[in-house]
C-alpha cells in the first residue's frame, strides 16, 4: 500500500554542500528537478529537469553564468525557468519555459516546494539548527532506498528495531524492552516519541565515541515534523550520574523521490570530542553501516510487500504507537 504524497510541504532536495556550479539532478515527489548555484549571488536555483523542446535532462547540461543551457540543442533558461534563447531563430515560443520551484537554503539543507508556489511559506520549514551549529560536529550522507517513504517513517518512529536490526551497533536489549510515551500535536503535524532508559548497556556507537566503559542512562526523544524532518535528540550519561551529558542529535530528512522510492538523508551531530578526528571518522563510518542495514532491510521489505496480494493485513502492537500516529498525519497532509 503506497503512502500518498503531501505536495504542499517543504522537502529536502540536497545538502547545500552538494550544490555548486555543476547541475545536480534529483527527483522529488515524482518531479525531476535540476539544482544549481548562481554565479552572481550564490543562491540555489531549482528548475524542472526536462528541456521543454525534446525533454532532455537539464541536469546533464551546462551553466552559462546564471543560466542553464540544454546540452542537446542549446535552449537556454534563466533562473525563473523562462527560455531566453532558442537555436537558429529569433522568435522564442511563448510556451518555452520550465517550472521553477521555490528553494530555500536553511540549516545546511536545501528545501524545495513542489506544490502550489503561492502556498510556499518559508516559515513552514521545520528547523534543525544543530546542523549548522559551530559548537557541534556533524557527519552526514544520503542513501536512496527502493521503498515507499512510509516504510522509512515507520522504521524511524519505532526504534525498538535497533535491538534486532542494529544489534552490536546502536541496539541493546533495553531499547526494545523500554516502554515509550507518544505525543501528537494534531494541528502542527508533529509526533513526539520518548524512550528513557535509566540503566542500559552502552552500545559500541556510544562506547567508542564517548569512552564510557560501563552502563549508561540513555534518553531518546524523537520529534517528527511530518512529512520530511525527523530529529532524534539523544542524551547519554554514565548511569547514576547527572554529568557529563553527551549530546547527539540524529537527523533524518525523508524525501519521497517517486512512488516506491525515497531519499534517506542522515546526519549525526555531537557536542563532545569535537576536535577528535578519529571519533568523527568512526561515527561517519559506523552510522553509514547502520543506515545501510536499514537500506538493505527496507529494500527487501518493499520487494516482499510488492509480491503480496492486495489488501494484506498487518499487526500493530505497543511499539507501533508513534508509527501509527505518523501514518495518520501523513494521510491527513496528503488529503489536504
Amino acid at each position: 500500500m503506497a503512502t500518498a504524497f503531501a505536495r504542499n510541504r517543504w522537502y529536502v532536495a540536497a545538502y547545500g554542500s552538494e550544490i555548486g556550479r555543476e547541475p545536480l539532478g534529483r527527483t522529488i515527489l515524482g518531479e525531476p528537478i535540476v539544482l544549481y548555484r548562481t554565479e552572481s549571488d550564490g543562491r540555489v536555483v531549482a528548475l524542472a529537469d526536462r528541456c521543454v523542446h525534446r525533454r532532455f535532462p537539464l541536469s546533464a547540461s551546462r551553466l552559462d553564468g546564471d543560466r542553464i543551457v540544454c546540452g542537446y540543442h542549446g535552449f537556454t533558461y534563466d533562473t525563473a525557468g523562462t527560455c531566453v534563447f532558442v537555436p537558429g531563430q529569433q522568435r522564442i515560443p511563448r510556451t518555452a519555459r520550465v517550472a521553477a520551484y521555490p528553494a530555500v537554503e536553511l540549516d545546511s539543507f536545501v528545501w524545495v516546494w513542489i506544490g502550489d508556489p503561492a502556498l510556499a511559506d518559508e516559515k513552514l520549514i521545520p528547523r534543525a539548527p544543530h546542523l549548522a551549529d559551530p559548537d557541534m560536529v556533524t557527519v552526514c550522507g544520503m542513501e536512496p532506498i527502493d521503498g515507499d517513504y512510509g516504510l522509512l517513517v515507520d522504521n524511524l518512529m519505532d526504534l525498538s528495531h535497533e535491538t534486532y536490526l542494529h544489534g552490536g551497533y546502536i541496539g541493546t536489549p533495553e531499547v526494545a524492552e523500554t516502554p515509550i510515551a507518544t505525543e501528537v500535536d494534531e494541528d502542527a503535524g508533529i509526533v513526539r516519541v520518548s524512550r528513557h532508559m535509566l540503566d542500559a548497556e552502552c552500545p559500541p556507537f556510544y562506547a567508542r565515541s564517548t569512552g564510557i566503559q560501563g552502563r549508561i542512562t540513555r534518553l531518546q526523544d524523537i520529534e517528527y515534523f511530518a512529512p520530511c524532518l525527523y530529529l532524534l535528540h539523544s542524551r547519554i550519561m554514565p548511569v547514576g550520574q547527572d554529568a557529563p551529558v553527551f549530546r547527539t542529535e540524529i537527523t533524518y530528512a525523508i524525501t519521497p523521490s517517486a512512488p516506491g522510492k525515497v531519499y534517506d538523508f542522515w546526519a549525526v551531530s555531537r557536542d563532545f570530542a569535537t576536535d577528535d578526528d578519529e571519533v568523527t571518522a568512526f561515527l561517519r563510518d559506523f552510522n553509514h553501516q547502520v543506515v545501510m542495514q536499514d537500506v538493505k532491510a527496507l529494500n527487501l521489505l518493499q520487494r516482499a510487500l510488492d509480491s503480496e496480494p492486495a489488501g494484506y493485513q498487518e499487526l500493530s502492537i505497543n511499539i507501533d504507537t508513534g508509527g501509527l500516529a505518523a501514518r495518520r498525519i501523513l494521510a491527513k497532509l496528503a488529503a489536504a
Binding site: 516502554p179 501528537v184 494534531e186 504507537t321
Partner: protein, 57 residues
C-alpha cells in the same frame, strides 16, 4: 518533550511494567487499552466525542 505546540495534543503512555496504554485526549478525557489502533481510534473520535462506555477512567 520539547518543541512547539498548538495546544491540541493527544498523548499515549505505555505504562511501565504492563502491556497497557494510557491515553489522554486534548479534551482531558482518559482511556486505557492494550491496543494502539483501538487507542488512536478512541483519541480521534472528536468532534463526535468519545464513546461513553470507553471513557473508563
Amino acid at each position: 518533550m520539547t518543541g512547539p505546540s498548538s495546544g491540541a495534543t493527544n498523548r499515549i503512555d505505555w505504562q511501565p511494567g504492563t502491556d497497557l496504554l494510557h491515553g489522554t485526549c486534548h479534551c482531558g478525557a482518559q482511556h486505557t487499552a492494550d491496543d494502539p489502533v483501538e487507542m488512536w481510534t478512541w483519541l480521534l473520535s472528536h468532534p463526535e466525542g468519545h464513546p461513553s462506555e470507553a471513557s473508563d477512567d
